[in-house]
Amino acid sequence: MPLTNEDLKWKSKLEKNFNEEMSTLVEEMKKRNNRPRNMEYFDKILVEMSGKRLEEIGAFKEEGGKVFGIFCMFVPEELFYATGAMPLRLFAGFQDAVRTAETILPRNLCPLVKSTCGCIMLKLGYYGICDSLVYPTTCDCKKKTGEIIVDYMPDTRVMTMELPHTANTTQARKLWLTEIELLKKKIEEIMNVKITKKKLKDTICLVNSKRRAVRRLCELRKAERPPISGSDAMYVTVLSFYDDIRRWTEKAEELCEELEERIQNNTSTLDIDAPRIMVAGCPIVPPNWKIPNLIEDLGAVITCDELCTGARGLWDLVETCEWTMDDMLIALAERYLTLACACFTPNNNRIERILNWVKDYNVDGVVYHALHACHLYGIEAFHVRKALEKARIPMLTIETDYGDDIGQLRTRVEAFLEIIRARKFARAEKFRAKKP
C-alpha cells in the first residue's frame, strides 16, 4: 500500500521520535556504573537500527537479497537462511506507532501488535524493509492483524502457518511438521532455490550457535554476583533479532568472555544482597524498556528472564540424530513446538521451566509482565502464581502497556522488593538463631 502525503508527514514525525527514544534509552543504559565494555557494540546497534543497520539490509536487497518479516517466534529462521534469504523478527515497543494502528484497529488490543502494525503501516525504518510476511496462528491478535499487515508488503505471496493449540499430542506434532514442510516448499518457490541437506544443516548449526551464545550469557547470570545487569543482558538478547546473525553471535561470545573474567576478578558492581528477580510473561521490546530498568533501578537484579524475546525463546537448540532431510525437519518442528508460549493449552512445560529456572538462578521473586489485552499470558498468570506459591516464591503481576505509568508501577515494584527483602532478612535471622 503506497504512502499518501499525509502518511509521509506523520512518518517523518514518528521517525524522529523513534530515533530519539532509542537514543534516550541507550543514553540511560550508558549512565549505569561499570558496564561491561563489550556493551558498546550493542549500544551502537540499537542507535543505528534506522541508520547503518538499515543501509546494510538495503545493500543486501540491492544485490538481490530478499527479506522476510516473521511475526512470531514460531517461524523457523533456519529455512530462510538456507535459501540465502534474511528473516527479520517483527515486533515493536514504540508507543507513537500504537496510535497509528489505532486508526484502523480496535483500541483494546495488545500494544506490541498495535505498535508493530503501526510501524509497518508507515514503513518506519527497519519495519518498512521487509518484502514479505510469515505469520503463524499464535494468538488472535497476531493472526488477525497479520492479515492486515500483509496488505502493506510488496510481495503478498505471504504465508501463514497453522500452529496447533496444543503442543503435546501426536496430531499436533504431525500438523506442525506438515506446516514446516509446506513453508519450506513455499520459500523454495519464492526464492527459486532448492534447500539441500547441506544448506539446511549449515543453517541449523548457524542458528544453534546464536542460541548457544544466549545460553552461555544466561549461565553467567547464575553467578552469586551476576557480572552483568539483567537489563543489559536482556537487551543483548533482544538485539539478536535485529542484527546480522553471525556478527551478533561473535560479539555476544566476546561479551561472555569478558563476563567470565569479571566473575574471576570479582568486578561486578551488583550488590550481593540484591533481590534476584525473574521476569516472566509477555515480550519486552525496546525502546519500551521501563520494566527491566525500573526493577534494577530499585536495587534488584534480574538474573533470568522467561520471555520469548529472551531466554525462553532462544534456549532450546534444534537437535537432530542424523542429518537426513526428514530428521532435520522433524527436529525443527519439535524444537519450535517446545517454545511454551501461553497460546498452548495445557502449557505445563512453561510452568515446569519457570520452577526449574527459579531454582537454577536462585530467584527470590518473579515479576510477571502482562501486556494489556494479552489474554493468554494474563490468564496463565493464575497457574504460574499457584505453582510459585507452592514453591514459596512471591510473584508480582504487572499489567501495563507502552504508556507512561511508571509512578504507579514503581510503588508496586518497590513494595514487592520490600516484601522480598523482609523475607530474606527473616530467613537469615532464623538461620543465625539456629547456629550454635
Binding site: P394, E399, D405, Q408, T411, R412, E414, A415, E418, R423
Partner: protein
C-alpha cells in the same frame, strides 16, 4: 530512645506523624498541593510545634506515599504497602486484611500473623472508586463530601450505579436525579458500587479477619457499611484512619534508628 517522624505524601492529603518511644506525640493532616516540598515542610513544622519540638530533635525521618521522592529532608523512603502494614498492625494487633481507599488509589493488603505482607493489590491508573471519585460525585449532587456517609445511612432504597468511570457515573447520577431519585439513595448506590469494585481487589489477595479500613474514605460510615455488606464481615476503622501510613513510616524510622 529517640524521636522519629513519618511522612505520607498522598495525592489528596499529606500527613506527618511525630513518634517517641511508644507513643504518637503529634500528627498533622493537610491538603496536598503542587508545591509538595514546601507544604510538607509546613506540615512538619506544625507537627513539631504541637509536640514542642524542633527539627533538630528528630533522629530519623522516613517518607512514603505518592510523593515520597519529592522531599529531600527524609532519610529514606518506603512504599505505601509496607508503611500501611506496619502502621495498621501497631494500631490493631489482630489485623489480617487492610483495605485502604485514598485520594487517587485504593489497595488491599493481606498480612501474616507477624504483620508481614503476604500479598497486595492496587487499582490501576484510573481513579475510579477512590476519594476523588466520591469528591466529584459530591459536587455533582451538591452535597459536602463529609456528609455523604450520614446521608447514605438515611437511604431507603439503594440506587443502581453500573459504571465506575467518573465521567459515565456522573451522567448516571444526573439521570437518576432527573428521575427524582433521592440524593440519599444515590449516595448509597455510589457506595455500593465502590464496595463491589473494591471487594474484588480484596478477594484477589484474600480476606482475613480482622479487616481494617483506612484512608480518607474510611471516615465515611456509609462506605464502611457498604463494604461490610459486600464482604460479609465486620470492618474496623482506626480512630485516625488517614495517618496509618505515616505512622508506619515513623515506626520503621524507629526500627532503623535502633539498628544503627
Amino acid at each position: 530512645m529517640g524521636i522519629f517522624a513519618g511522612i505520607d505524601i498522598g495525592s489528596a492529603t499529606s500527613k506527618v506523624v511525630i513518634f517517641k518511644d511508644d507513643e504518637v506525640l503529634s500528627f498533622v493532616i493537610i491538603p496536598s498541593e503542587v508545591e509538595w516540598e514546601a507544604i510538607t515542610k509546613l506540615a512538619m513544622e506544625e507537627a513539631l510545634e504541637k509536640a514542642n519540638l524542633h527539627h533538630s530533635n528528630i533522629d530519623y525521618i522516613i517518607s512514603t506515599g505518592y510523593g515520597r521522592r519529592t522531599i529531600d529532608f527524609a532519610n529514606e523512603t518506603i512504599s505505601e504497602i509496607t508503611a500501611h502494614s506496619r502502621g495498621t498492625k501497631w494500631l490493631h494487633k489482630n489485623v489480617g486484611s487492610i483495605i485502604d481507599i485514598g485520594g487517587q488509589d485504593s489497595k488491599a493488603i493481606l498480612l501474616d500473623e507477624n504483620g508481614g505482607v503476604i500479598n497486595f493489590a492496587m487499582n490501576d491508573r484510573c481513579a475510579a472508586g477512590t476519594g476523588r471519585f466520591l469528591e466529584h460525585m459530591a459536587n455533582v449532587l451538591g452535597v459536602r463530601i463529609d456528609d455523604m456517609g450520614d446521608l447514605s445511612m438515611a437511604s431507603e432504597k439503594t440506587a443502581k450505579i453500573s459504571s465506575m468511570c467518573t465521567v459515565f457515573a456522573e451522567s448516571e447520577v444526573i439521570s437518576l436525579l432527573a428521575r427524582e431519585w433521592r440524593k440519599e439513595d444515590i449516595i448509597a448506590g455510589l457506595h455500593e458500587a465502590i464496595a463491589k469494585r473494591t471487594s474484588v481487589m480484596v478477594r484477589q489477595c484474600g480476606v482475613k479477619k480482622d479487616v481494617v479500613l483506612s484512608g480518607g474514605v474510611a471516615k465515611n460510615r456509609g462506605m464502611q457499611k457498604a463494604l461490610e455488606m459486600e464482604l460479609g464481615t465486620d470492618i474496623h476503622v482506626p480512630k485516625e484512619p488517614q495517618i496509618t501510613a505515616a505512622l508506619g513510616a515513623a515506626l520503621l524510622a524507629r526500627k532503623k534508628a535502633r539498628k544503627a
